[in-house]
Symmetry: C2
């Protein structure tokens, strides 16, 4: 069994290596709103910001996306940025881009130097996953390969297999998010996270969504999850908790675990 | 599967039915110290106080124990009291009483009306368990039958069997406390708690002790544990967290779970 790993950026572990680090999503629709949102959220000092670009209305205008990325970089005040177009079938917003256009967008944003990590779903076409893998490597950006099921929770063995699949596809970080229908499924997600974090040589991220799964957003770190998503200004998925609350609960848990 | 149950006293669920309720141990050695400790701890409004009488120096003097029980009742200011002589082999203090004397003590304290619940280890002689069961029933006191392993964590199936054994022996509440050597064992304890709370018709209490298990003291409730032990003035077992911290973390967790 490996020790559970923290996400590293430029050789430095996020949040000083504390598990989990805290990531706040940004879901603004316009450049002006994105700047306002990023400033407000960055002031709460999350360890990472996730720009959910599928919420961005001008997504079809590459110049506007790049201008927004540049403005975001400044508004983030040094908080690193995870760039994510969440696919519609995995809980994202409907967008007007086809997949070649999405790939071109990832290429342009990666080349801009305005983001620090990228997220792409494992369920995308294998060629597209390979292309995103190649371009993130070229630009030195850690790649999160992700799996989301907003309806149900696969069995524990399938969850472990999803983490392993991300690693096999070249992920720097493997992410699995599921919707539990019972506390037994939340328990299975935590167990799979523990197993995957012990078996894989990359950081893993997991969460059970919704109210039933909220406990996983607080205690996932002790079971090996390297990142938890918390609300800075607006939630991007069901069950996310306010960043202040997450920080308060993690502080208690981390002191107790160390004690 | 049953719904996980809250501990009830006189038909009223402890902590308004919130899982877990919070119990603070009292470990004073003298009557005067017990009163001081109880006043200080009761001021923090735990849902329950546990009088760990094995810490009480005058344990061999029944009149002094009864005087202390009476003074404790007043000092507790309405917070209900769980009476526990923790056996040495299950993590308690060495005491100068033999088992017939312990039984006589349980009898006298039960008859005093100064406590609300009693705890007795399942590992005691079957006849003694039956006697404590009979006397607590006679006095209308819910009985916690408990199992503690301060060295290791039995496998999940054995943990589930311990909860079931308590029920089979007539417990009103089943308690299992273990020492984990890995997060896998903490995960197993939570899973066994979830299963037992779903299968049994009585409340269950569980915790994984030490720093590794501290997460179970915060998130055990969502996996079915009806009670968590938290520090009012002094800890009675490794890994217990300050009551203010437990309350802060539970508040976040409970709002997130309901949200």
């Amino acid at each position: 069994m490996q020790q559970a790993r923290a996400i590293t950026l430029g050789g430095q572990p996020l949040a000083g290596g504390r598990l989990p680090a805290i990531c706040a999503p940004l879901v603004a629709r316009t450049r002006a709103a994105l700047i306002t949102e990023a400033q407000a959220v960055a002031a709460k000092r999350p360890d990472l910001l996730e720009w959910r670009v599928d919420f961005f209305a001008a997504l079809t205008d590459p110049a506007e996306v790049l201008a927004a990325a540049s403005a975001l970089r400044e508004a983030a005040a040094g908080v690193p940025i995870l760039f994510t177009r969440r696919a519609r079938r995995e809980g994202g917003q409907p967008i007007a881009l086809d997949e070649p256009q999405v790939l071109a967008l990832y290429q342009a944003v990666a080349a801009s130097g305005c983001v620090d990590l990228m997220d792409f779903e494992m369920s995308n076409a294998a060629d597209d996953v390979a292309r995103v893998r190649a371009l993130t490597q070229r630009h030195g950006l850690p790649l999160v390969l992700s799996f989301h099921d907003f309806q149900r929770t696969p069995c524990a063995a399938d969850l472990v297999a999803r983490f392993a699949q991300a690693r096999q596809l070249g992920a720097d970080i493997a992410k699995v998010a599921v919707m539990p229908q019972s506390m037994g499924e939340v328990h299975a997600l935590l167990g799979a996270t523990l197993q995957a974090s012990g078996e894989l040589d990359i950081p893993v991220i997991s969460m059970a969504m919704g109210g039933l799964g909220a406990v996983s957003r607080l205690c996932g770190g002790v079971f090996g999850s390297a990142l938890t998503f918390a609300v800075g200004a607006s939630a991007s998925a069901p069950g996310q908790i306010a960043i202040e609350d997450v920080r308060a609960a993690l502080s208690v848990l981390q002191r107790a675990t160390a004690g």
